[in-house]
Symmetry: C2
Subunit: 437 residues, 2 copies
């Protein structure tokens, strides 16, 4: 699945189709990157070396190291926090959370929240209740002052930036994509609306099936690789050029189709509308406004283009600050940082009928809006999701923000959802049941 | 001079032999990277694209962009600032500094400090007097919250880390290098002492003459490149492996010979002694202790090894904080962060007779100690220096720390020293003449 030409690990969708690993993978404890010694030693011995160019860095269990060290493998662009003092988080740690029990999907045997931490190969998990940290735990290669790959959670940042611009009247979501990016006129994106891009209801001939060596994702991956192109390479150079050649399949607006290229096309639209890359805009609009502890970063292609579909790495607590901003509908420490309308539009959700056509069997009744996953459950929860277990899960009714970074052996979230989504619900139920001052 | 196989721009010495550009280069104003539009646009047009792999990113005038964007071209490792609040600097801006006049070396025509700013292609310049910022100015591609390549100023960090370990008794500077790094036993470094490494008095068959296509620096550059090695490449992989093959020329201890490989060999010694890379150690010992505003970073080879000879990028004000730590002999806001002995040993300087043999004609009476340049002038000034005009200049008598980042078209500092060193002296004289509360 990985190990294919280029950067396999860098370019995936948050597929939620259940996937089964060929053999039983090492447990979280046995695959601990410190224990396995990846890249340790001066220099690391040959069998402990990982490289991006051959994909070895993103094969399990090596990916348990790499998710927290992306910048050491590929060029990256800074998402500056600015130079001010971080806004500190308040703590009210609750030891009972680890003891909460829930029923994994399809199981009659209860599991504790703490057990699920390892079962899901969690690298970092933080929970905020009413803005206070009630849970925070690190494992694997992630440290408090480290950054973890957010994978397709990145898409939700891209979608939110677009929603902000739309709410501010700077981006016409009903306009054709080619009105903003003429280079896309001849591609499938040309006659799609910006809104269709934002909700991924474009009709594209584009497969992200890593098992298929002819899937378009491999050409995308080659185009976006930061390394010098191989001798004789004649394909597109960079994410943007690749997008100009994406062909149409089906009709725009009919069905949700989870395809990373939509996010990068949206990133292109954003860049053209603002004159800023998503990295610059994210810094200006969010990272410099929330008192982040750490700067974040995007991986870039060889033209310096930030990978808006999956390239963000950030600190766990900073992701929690971001989640709290979203939970509070764009308000942060008494100031409206981003328009209420941008968040409200996410929470309303997307077209559920269109979503149902995409075949995410276990996510019944969900929708996708502005590149966020909307559960439409009783609590109105919605989430950013990325492969190998990345999530920012916001439960408005429970006044809860939960961020998890992970390095699950199976990319598709279908493998961890049964041990994750009911666990989040158990925490939400618990938090709604307790009284705080 | 650049444009040769790999990473030419990344691997140079702070040569101070005067060099003359083939034709008159663009002025600072005309070579302004914003004006020239490097890497601007989505995507940047072909004639504005810069790449590390073909060396184009480090040819003047493109380097004026790249010096402040290194991480966008190559993989890097974080030097974490931690997550606390930055320690703010106090300001007492002095507008008179820009008006100070000095005589450039070999000239009868006075120049103002302000004129020298552009003459030297300065990207950022900050001056602290008694710990207060009296001057701070940015230009080119550098922003307050940006990071600039420090080039061979990096070496002085490596040397200082070693001096700290020596002062703490953790590193025996009289021991043979091969006692700590057995892999170097068969190389020229094998029978050198750690002290000889620290002062670059090793006898090495190693040329950093970029004009010579057979110079060893090209093999070093290829070994340290972060990109996949070309088909059929059989040379060493990574900085460390290259070092094991460096051959001896002459006798250790006889003469100063400014060769970058000494710094990387010292980085290897440091890593073995502490079990930490220079990036980790710099973070732990200095970057997390001074209330830095920004994390810094090193470029790495394909094995993740930080380039201890020239790979550091950092913020201007953070470099000033560092300089102030050194000026105060390791004391910072009432706390002794690093041993006095480590700084005192730098200030005493190295062997001036050995230094004289290296042919730095214009630096009469100077010496090199712990990878710092010691002027032995009346004020006891000493400096870290890197190509294209990078410096951290410390004048104890004037209670002055001056940091300059630049992107001078000529790599060798001989090209800017005539307009820099007398300018620093003029500021020192001025600061010593004024009274402050």
């Amino acid at each position: 699945m990985i190990g294919h030409p280029f950067l396999a690990g860098l370019l995936f969708a948050a597929l939620t189709v259940p996937a089964i690993a060929a053999e039983k993978p090492l447990s979280a404890k046995d695959s601990d990157p410190d224990k396995l010694g990846w890249m340790q030693g001066f220099p690391p011995p040959p069998d402990k070396r990982l490289r991006a160019a051959d994909g070895s860095f993103f094969e399990f269990p090596a990916l348990r190291y790499s998710v927290a060290h992306m910048r050491e493998f590929v060029p990256t662009i800074n998402v500056s926090r600015g130079t001010g003092a971080p806004v500190s988080l308040d703590y009210r740690r609750d030891p009972l959370i680890d003891k909460l029990r829930f029923l994994p999907w399809g199981s009659n045997e209860a599991m504790t929240f703490s057990d699920a931490f390892d079962r899901n190969y969690t690298d970092g998990l933080i929970i905020l209740h009413r803005g206070e940290v009630v849970y925070e735990r690190y494992a694997g290669a992630l440290k408090e002052d480290g950054q973890h790959a957010a994978m397709s959670v990145t898409k939700s940042f891209t979608g939110l930036l677009a929603a902000i611009l739309a709410a501010e009247g700077k981006l016409d979501e009903m306009a054709k994509v080619s009105d903003t990016v003429p280079e896309l006129a001849g591609s499938a994106f040309g006659d799609a609306t910006v809104r269709q891009l934002m909700d991924m209801t474009t009709g594209l001939q584009y497969s992200e099936d890593y098992a298929d060596p002819n899937a378009e994702v491999w050409q995308y991956s080659a185009a976006g690789s930061p390394w010098p192109k191989p001798e004789g390479y004649t394909g597109p150079v960079g994410y943007f050029e690749y997008l100009t050649g994406v062909q149409k399949q089906g009709k725009h607006g009919d069905a949700f189709g989870y395809k990373t290229v939509n996010s990068d096309a949206l990133g292109w639209v954003i860049a053209r509308v603002t004159g800023q890359s998503v990295a610059e805009l994210l810094s200006q609009r969010i990272w410099q406004r929330l008192g982040m502890e750490q700067s974040a970063y995007y991986q870039v292609d060889e033209l310096g283009t930030a990978f808006a579909g999956g390239g963000l790495s950030a600190g766990l607590r900073d992701m929690a600050r971001f989640g709290e901003l979203v939970r509070n509908k764009g308000r942060w420490r008494g100031e409206q940082i981003i328009p209420v309308a941008a968040i409200a539009d996410i929470q309303r959700g997307g077209n559920r009928a269109a979503f149902a056509k995409a075949g995410f069997d276990k996510l019944t009744g969900w929708s996708y809006r502005n590149m966020w996953w909307v559960t439409h459950n009783e609590n109105g929860a919605f989430a950013a999701r990325g492969v190998h277990g990345q999530t920012v899960y916001i439960d408005p009714a429970a006044e809860m923000v939960l961020v998890r970074f992970a390095s699950h052996p199976v990319a598709a979230n279908g493998a961890n959802d049964p041990y994750s989504l009911p666990a989040w619900q158990a925490v939400a139920d618990y938090l709604m049941s307790i009284k705080t001052q």
